[in-house]
């Protein structure tokens, strides 16, 4: 059995949407936790229908310091609706087995899971539920050895982020530990949709590639996120050499924008996913025909 994440990148660049698990969308009174989780499943269905290759699912934390206002609000809604780590793992367990799932959460959620401090219980539960990879945005390489070790044993990827500020030295450390794919942060700041995808994307990708060349490391798929919101941007990013495009806030904006009309939210989500997936494809086509890869 090939690794589901690796598989998602094989033929085509991957379109990777993000959702905050358990966020039902805006509400007057919070729904039951079961309803909120069911709604997340419905949203995931919409994303898959739109062409999602991998889904990143946020396990909400009370202090989402790496997230911008959109995801922060989604986390608040999810927590108010009763989201917990156990419900998160149930949700993942109930998803189609062939859909690659990456869990994104903060380190304290990992560390505290299961009652006694440490990373093992979280990794076990994640692996058991079918989580394929984990991103912990507040866990830099320096602090990541225990988590990486447990994850390796359990066959779960730990995905790291390379930022525009990451030095070559740090990039080496990141690349040494990262598995699944490398999350290339397109610009400085927190998550949140933006209209410009800066030149930093291109140069970041270049840096990673030359690193791979110099250190003769097996190339890792490179997915670009932070601020991607349109099919056109997705196309540009892939054309610039990315192996995948990660979109979060722009999708949650669709859910938020639909107010309490969930059916509409699902439709809009599918529509934007379709556009983004198509953009990803377009970008791949441009890349094969053009000189952009140099």
């Amino acid at each position: 059995m090939t690794d589901p994440i690796a598989a998602a990148f094989i033929d085509n660049p991957a379109f990777i949407p993000y959702l905050a698990a358990g966020d039902p969308g805006p509400f007057d009174e919070p729904p039951s936790a079961d309803d909120a989780v069911a709604q997340t499943s419905a949203y995931i269905d919409a994303l898959v229908a739109g062409g999602a290759d991998i889904v990143e699912l946020g396990l909400p934390h009370s202090e989402p310091i790496a997230d911008g206002p959109t995801i922060q609000q989604a986390s608040v809604r999810a927590l108010e609706a009763g989201m917990t780590p156990d419900r998160f793992f149930e949700l993942v367990d109930d998803l189609p087995a062939d859909l690659p799932i990456v869990a994104m959460t903060y380190y304290n959620m990992v560390y505290r899971y299961g009652g006694s401090p440490g990373v093992d219980e979280f990794i076990e539960a994640a692996a058991a539920a079918g989580v394929d990879g984990i991103i912990v945005p507040d866990l830099p390489v320096e602090e990541s050895d225990p988590l990486c070790a447990a994850a390796r044993d359990a066959g779960v990827h730990i995905i790291f982020i390379a930022a525009p500020t990451t030095t070559d030295e740090r990039l080496a450390a990141v690349m040494q530990r990262c598995s699944g794919y490398l999350y290339v942060q397109a610009r400085l700041g927190t998550t949140g949709s933006q209209t410009d995808v800066s030149d930093q994307t291109r140069s970041s990708l270049g840096r990673v590639r030359s690193f791979e060349t110099n250190f003769e490391r097996d190339p890792l798929p490179k997915a670009v996120g932070f601020g991607v919101s349109s099919g056109e941007q997705a196309a540009d990013i892939v054309a610039a050499g990315a192996d995948g495009v990660i979109v979060g806030s722009a999708l949650i904006d669709e859910i938020t924008g639909a107010g309490t009309d969930r059916a509409r939210a699902e439709r809009q989500l599918e529509a934007l996913a379709t556009e983004l997936a198509a953009g990803t494809e377009r970008g791949a086509a441009r890349r094969q025909s053009g000189p952009e890869r140099t």
Partner: protein, 413 residues
């Protein structure tokens, strides 16, 4: 502290990768300028602390309290530092360091507003642009400090998330930093956050304990038996304790806010106290592994204290380690006891303390007679910022503090 920023198992650097290069740069600057005094940085700082900050602050024998508790009570008067609290020791240090590092802009969070005002004053003094994040709830309960920050020319950004206190302000400041890290220094206001902050802030605040140690030697020729300080994040406590940690004859007491109750309610996510060292559990908050108030899932609780500056769900990792090792005693004082202590110090010593500080004196009232012959208490700040709160809260609780305000009842003729 070991070189990797760990205090035993506490500490570390839990921040997004994007910030790590800045943290490395800061660690380097800390090592060189603060620890090695490169370019005479520490001398420069000391000169600013003297002429601008009013250091050294005196120690004062508290005559009435000494009699009350039957021991020698000495006060370390950080309330006399420019701005009214120990917070300037650190803020001025960091803003000056940022200047040495060629940063162009300062951001900071603030709870009580004391760290915020200390930072804006330092920025005005050194000519640095400055933005402060402050929870909306704190903006409203610490209005005078908001005025002061604005008067110093700083921007104050109210944070409307959650309960709108320090925790939310810190998260928001980290977000700003994630955007602006290349040009901006984040002045953290206590011995919390990722390494090197806990060590660096401790070093800047250690001037408290260093001076007090020297002054006590000059005045009574010996070490105190106990050092008492209130602890929110723990900067005045660590600053007071650090020079005494190696002196095994000196007991160290950190007094946390007991709020209204020491129990915590995981369902509502609310802890009616800020007693992190006393009832907190291990976790990672705002960049370091320490003790925190959290529910069983690892979600951070909303803490509470009548004193805004102690109202924080985390605490410095070094304090957590000292408590863990048994070197430091952690204790709590509840809101009512702190308010009573506030009135007591105001009436018997003529010093109106910050509500934060009042917790240390609440502890003295409960344990003063058992602390030894000579007790050093750090008056971390003055209470001007707390006047409205104290009056409101004292009345609401019907505290018997011999205080009424009928003087305001009649109208202007």
């Amino acid at each position: 502290m070991s070189s990797d920023g760990m205090f035993g198992e506490f500490g570390g650097q839990f921040v997004p990768e994007a910030l790590m290069p800045a943290i490395e740069e800061l660690t380097d600057a800390y090592d060189r300028y603060v620890q090695e005094n490169e370019a005479g940085f520490m001398d420069d700082l000391q000169s600013h602390l003297r002429s601008f900050g009013g250091r050294p602050t005196p120690i004062q024998r508290a005559d009435q309290l000494s009699e009350r508790y039957g021991c020698e009570v000495y006060l370390k008067r950080e309330d006399l530092v420019h701005g009214g609290a120990h917070k300037l020791n650190n803020a001025l240090g960091q803003v000056l360091l940022a200047q040495y590092m060629d940063k162009e802009r300062i951001i900071a969070e603030t709870g009580a507003g004391q760290h915020g005002t200390a930072t804006t004053m330092s920025c005005a003094h050194l000519g640095m642009p400055c933005e402060i994040y402050m929870g909306r709830h704190d903006v409203n309960r610490q209005r005078p400090n908001v005025f002061r920050m604005r008067l110093n020319g700083a921007t104050v950004n109210p944070v409307d998330i959650g309960r709108g206190t320090l925790k939310e302000a810190i998260s928001e400041t980290m977000r700003d930093w994630a955007r602006t890290v290349e040009t901006t220094h984040y002045v953290i206001g206590s011995v919390v956050g990722p390494h090197p902050y806990p060590a660096m802030v401790r070093d800047f605040q250690s001037v408290i304990g260093r001076e007090a140690k020297r002054q006590l030697r000059e005045e009574i020729g010996e070490l105190p038996d106990a050092v008492v300080a209130c602890a929110g994040g723990g900067s005045n406590a660590m600053g007071s304790f650090a020079p005494f940690v190696e002196e095994s004859s000196v007991d160290l007491h950190a007094v946390e806010a007991g709020g209204s109750d020491l129990s915590i309610d995981g369902d509502t996510g609310i802890a009616p106290n800020s007693a992190t060292l006393s009832i907190g559990t291990r976790g990672v908050l705002h960049g370091s592994h320490t003790k925190i108030l959290q529910d069983e899932d690892g979600q951070i609780m909303e803490s509470h204290s009548v004193s805004a500056g102690l109202d924080y769900a985390g605490v410095g990792p070094e304090l957590a380690a000292l408590v863990e090792s048994g070197r430091l005693t952690a204790a709590t004082v509840d809101d009512d006891t702190a308010l009573e202590a506030f009135h007591r110090l105001s009436q018997t010593e003529g010093i109106i303390p910050a509500l934060e500080t009042a917790h240390a004196f609440g502890y003295l009232e409960a344990h003063g007679e058992a602390l030894g012959d000579t007790v050093l208490v750090t008056v971390s700040g003055r209470g001007d910022k707390d006047l409205e709160t104290v009056i409101e809260e004292s009345h609401r609780r019907e505290l018997d503090v011999g205080f009424d305000l009928s003087v305001f009842d009649a109208e202007v003729q």
